[in-house]
């Protein structure tokens, strides 16, 4: 064909001088938008044109995200199960216990504390012992818990069948027994035991109720215990005084107040004790606390300070502390896992560098034709962004699957929206941070030099 311009629809080529007149004025915003959209298209094409390479790069991010989400999930799972264990002990529960064998409580102290400390709603002395038990032909030793009638209210414990014992049962030392859930299930094999009798330490007890299960390993194994009036437990164990009192306040605020007030009471009681050295620097007591409490019986001759003898512990505080400790643990696990995301980021950088050096001449051409630095930066950053988002999303899906797999092995992992968002955000941040350097390199090449390379 002839080498000159075909006549065709010929106004096409006009003198260059006409260019400025000919070209309509376009808004710079529209122009910027056109370039941006095109740049994104180029990024998508860049990612899709090398599926294997892109896939492998995204894989390193996938692994990072799965690790982060799973480890945070395991930490969170542990935290929740610890909190659940404490919660199963009942809300706003305060445990008062002696730390020294020579210093024990009169059982009547529980009732007196409720009267004196207005923030306390309920309290029970706690006697723990063991007893030989027989039911029909079954025999065995069981842990025995002796408490008063307020126990279900303190521990928020419902009954699966029957009733709990009453104030009257406690005062009359009635031989009635409430079974822990597992005891009932094991001994009686599903039939309702309420109304039947069993033998405890050779004496006949009437079964009046069965407690709801609290779950294995929780609430001090209450499911595997039998519960009797503490007056009866004293007879079984042959010990009159008690080492623990469980009390309950109506609200967390009242529980805190009660803990403070109980602390003062015990400091003073110990301070009054003739054998100790005065408890040191007591504040003036409230008048309502001044009423006569039967002083804790002290059998020893040398007692230490109140703090060494009596521990007043709010379960709320313990829950808080356990919660905090576990949160720290979760953050640590997540931090360790984040290292694997870092590795994923280096993978992205590696691939982007290869991709940049492969396309050096293309970069040079685009710059010659008018691509600005920002166009190229945007293109390569968008590629890194897409790889990390795709990897992050796939990682989340895999993390959900691995949560179920872990669950099958008894490891409870909890994936919260926050942990998912955090790890996805980290993945994207990693992609951008590690994408910046190759993108910068690409956009920095002088076009003449870039065009020379092939």
């Amino acid at each position: 064909m002839p080498g000159d311009l075909t006549p065709g629809p010929a106004p096409a080529l006009q003198p260059a001088a006409a260019a400025a007149v000919d070209e309509p004025r376009r808004s710079p915003l529209l122009a910027a938008w056109v370039r941006f959209v095109y740049t994104l298209q180029m990024a998508v094409t860049g990612v899709l044109s090398q599926p294997l390479r892109s896939g492998l790069t995204a894989l390193s991010v996938v692994i990072g995200v799965v690790t982060v989400v799973s480890l945070i999930g395991i930490g969170e799972g542990a935290r929740r199960s610890v909190v659940a264990q404490f919660a199963s002990l009942g809300e706003n529960v305060i445990i008062i216990e002696t730390l020294d064998d020579r210093f024990q409580f009169e059982p009547g102290l529980a009732e007196e504390l409720v009267e004196r400390v207005s923030e306390l709603a309920y309290a029970t002395p706690v006697v723990e012992t063991e007893a030989a038990v027989r039911w029909r032909r079954e025999r065995g030793n069981l842990a025995v818990l002796g408490v008063n009638e307020q126990f279900p209210l303190i521990r928020d414990h419902q009954l699966a069948a029957g009733t709990f014992f009453s104030d009257l049962h406690v005062r009359q030392r009635s031989r009635v027994v409430v079974l822990g859930y597992n005891v009932a299930a094991r001994l009686l094999g599903g039939r309702s035991p309420v109304g039947q009798t069993m033998t405890v330490e050779g004496r006949t007890f009437r079964i009046i109720g069965v407690l709801n299960p609290k779950g294995t390993g929780q609430a001090g194994g209450i499911d595997d215990m039998i519960v009797v009036p503490y007056t009866v437990a004293q007879q079984i164990s042959g010990v009159r005084n008690v080492r623990q009192i469980w009390a309950k306040a109506d609200s967390p605020e009242q529980a805190d107040l009660a803990v403070a007030r109980l602390g003062r009471i015990f400091r003073r009681e110990v301070g009054l004790s003739p054998v100790t050295g005065g408890g040191g620097g007591e504040k003036p007591e409230n008048p309502d606390e001044a009423g006569g409490v039967a002083p804790p019986r002290s059998t020893g001759s040398r007692l230490g300070s109140a703090e060494e003898l009596v521990a007043v512990t709010s379960l709320n505080q313990m829950v808080k502390e356990a919660d905090r400790a576990n949160r720290v643990m979760t953050v640590m696990l997540g931090g360790i896992a984040a290292v694997s995301l870092l590795v994923g980021g280096i993978g992205i950088m590696n691939i982007m560098l290869v991709s940049v050096s492969e396309r050096t001449s293309e970069i040079g051409l685009r710059k010659a034709l008018g691509a600005r630095r920002t166009d190229l930066l945007t293109q390569f950053l968008a590629e890194a962004f897409m790889l990390s988002v795709a990897g992050g999303a796939a990682g989340l899906v895999l993390a959900l699957i691995s949560r179920d797999v872990l669950g099958a092995f008894g490891l409870q992992a909890v994936i919260t929206p926050q942990s998912a968002l955090i790890s996805l955000g980290l993945a994207v941040a990693v992609g951008i941070v590690f994408g910046v350097y190759p993108a910068w390199t690409a956009s920095d090449l002088p076009p003449a030099e870039a065009l020379r390379r092939k």
């Binding site: 064909m1 002839p2 080498g3 000159d4 311009l5 075909t6 065709g8 629809p9 010929a10 096409a12 080529l13 006009q14 003198p15 260059a16 001088a17 006409a18 260019a19 000919d22 070209e23 376009r26 710079p28 529209l30 122009a31 910027a32 938008w33 056109v34 370039r35 095109y38 094409t45 044109s49 001449s361 293309e362 051409l365 685009r366 710059k367 010659a368 034709l369 008018g370 691509a371 600005r372 630095r373 920002t374 166009d375 002088p446 076009p447 003449a448 030099e449 065009l451 092939k454």
Partner: protein
């Protein structure tokens, strides 16, 4: 014409490769007016391509002054230079430099994309220019499906798409047989004559140089002679 299209004074370009300094240009003075057709000739390593790159704002001189239509190019930042190239200059390379994954139309659209034209406008213009260079039948072919001459015409269409004042061609016929070379040169001549587009080409081949209006001879980084053709 009062303002020259390009005016270079005392242009030096030094490349550093490790410890070695290579003086590619040693004080070049050159004036190119609107409507000229200049061929730069000289042996390999004489600095022809370096000079063309500097005229095309693909490279910056180490020292010297360069005014493009009266604008001081040396002091411009990279993105102003990119815009300048995009609006004023069309490039034609020896190796064509077409993007292999794009069709002819898509290749020609590239400068219009960076000018921010919407898709429909740039498509219309790309088709128009491809038809004008005689490739109306090849719009959606990829470079690999075309002959060398066809590829170079796509590249010329790409250079023309943005209606430049200046076309810079670095050995545009260096990879073509004599028949295709002649066709490409005829295309340049007509663009120069009929549309007043200024053309500057680097070439080894005296035949091709003879088709322009002026020949600039270079040696060892200096302009050593000039010849005006009638």
């Amino acid at each position: 014409m009062s303002i020259p299209l390009a005016e270079l004074s005392n242009i030096h370009r030094v490349f550093r490769q490790g410890q070695v300094e290579v003086h590619a240009l040693r004080g070049v003075d050159l004036r190119i007016d609107h409507g000229e057709f200049v061929s730069i000739m000289g042996p390999s390593g004489s600095g022809k391509s370096t000079l063309l790159n500097i005229i095309g704002c693909l490279d910056r001189p180490t020292s010297g002054r360069y005014l493009l239509e009266g604008r001081d190019v040396v002091s411009m930042n990279d993105s102003r230079l990119a815009d300048l190239r995009n609006r004023f200059i069309g490039f034609v390379f020896q190796m064509f430099h077409l993007l292999p994954k794009l069709t002819a139309v898509q290749n020609v659209e590239l400068p219009l994309i960076y000018r921010g034209w919407p898709a429909a406008d740039r498509r219309r213009r790309a088709v128009e220019v491809l038809q004008a260079v005689g490739l109306g039948e090849r719009l959606h072919h990829r470079p690999t499906q075309m002959s060398g001459g066809e590829q170079q015409r796509v590249a010329i269409a790409r250079a023309l798409a943005g209606r430049p004042s200046l076309i810079l061609a670095d050995e545009p016929t260096g990879n073509l047989d004599s028949r295709n070379s002649e066709e490409i040169m005829n295309l340049f001549v007509r663009l120069n004559r009929e549309q007043g587009i200024t053309i500057v080409q680097v070439t080894h081949e005296p035949d091709m140089a003879q088709m322009g209006k002026r020949i600039v001879y270079m040696r060892d980084g200096c302009v050593v002679g000039e010849e005006r053709l009638s």
